[in-house]
Symmetry: C2
Subunit: 198 residues, 2 copies
């Protein structure tokens, strides 16, 4: 990824990636042109191609990688240790706070609905993100409950899908209620006292 860049070069490259990530959240990946990137980062065409030899698709892949990292980072440290119900509660609150704050301009929405389709590389990054995320949830379900692996797998997938659904509906409508309902409903059955699902 760093391709022998100097520290300064790496910083410049990173600055371009971060600025482009904000553009794609705002305008959508499909609408983000190289000219937009140049304007937003005050870089020349030759500079851009120095850091991203394949141009736009290279930049979008780097942005997808960055955004996937962002998606997991905001869930830490809770996602990494979902062994207690307290940690689950903190985790889901962190997820809700994050997406409600970002609203319609979020890295996950941008990834699932646009960036992830921009190239085979971006698609692979998205698939890896889902896999890592599911694995962390799966481990959490297994550790917290006595669920069999298959049931824990299904629960983990349903929680993951609930978040994706809530986030794309938030992106599409500006309404946060779907995300809240989906995340709470899909995780409440994990509550140790088994108080039920409502």
């Amino acid at each position: 990824m760093n391709k022998g860049l100097t520290a300064k070069g790496r910083a410049t490259r990173q600055r371009i990636v971060v600025a482009t990530a904000l553009l794609t959240r705002e305008k959508g990946a499909a609408e983000t042109t190289l000219d937009d990137v140049r304007a937003a980062t005050a870089t020349s065409k030759s500079q851009l191609f120095h850091y991203f030899p394949e141009g736009r698709s290279d930049i979008l892949t780097a942005v997808a990688e960055y955004e996937a990292g962002q998606v997991l980072d905001v869930q830490q440290p809770f996602l990494g240790d979902l062994s207690t119900w307290e940690s689950w509660q903190k985790w889901r609150q962190a997820v809700l706070d994050h997406y409600i704050e970002l609203g319609q301009r979020c890295p996950l929405g941008s990834l699932t609905t646009e960036l992830g389709k921009s190239s085979a590389e971006a698609r692979a990054i998205l698939t890896t993100l889902f896999t890592e995320w599911e694995e962390a949830l799966f481990l959490g379900v297994r550790t917290l409950t006595s669920a069999e692996p298959e049931a824990a797998r299904i629960r983990a997938r349903s929680i993951l899908a609930a978040i994706q659904g809530g986030v794309v509906m938030l992106q599409a409508t500006g309404v946060t209620d779907y995300l809240t309902a989906a995340l709470m409903t899909s995780t409440d059955p994990l509550r140790p006292t088994a108080e039920g699902t409502d």
Copy 2:
């Protein structure tokens, strides 16, 4: 919508809308140009502007309307009467069958991730779709269970978000497991014998 068109005119307009819907499912709305529409429908530029005076945005709005109708149609007659658990089971099986068959090219994925963002009109169509859909699920939850309105509302929203999440993950990865897990897990608690959530 019909704007005084003759029966033949309405048929031609509808043919353009259906063909464009297939294009947007395949390529994405952002990548679908007027030239693509002309090529796919063997119509002239002046014909297109006769039926869609505002051009591309007019066509995409009509496509969004058509796709929203498709999304609800495939769920009938079950969605319209979710008063029995049998009907719920048939409904969710119809939803699964439909999306698993369509795979990565489906009207709902196309709507939520692209079409719905193409214009204010398209966004309004998507919001209306979600509202109607949620209402049908809410009525079903209320009729089948003794849930209070607020709990039924949360359950309906969580089911709706589960489907959106499963469908966008299917679109992004080609994997159907998320949709199956999300739909089953979000509706299983409605099972009258209350056998639980797994």
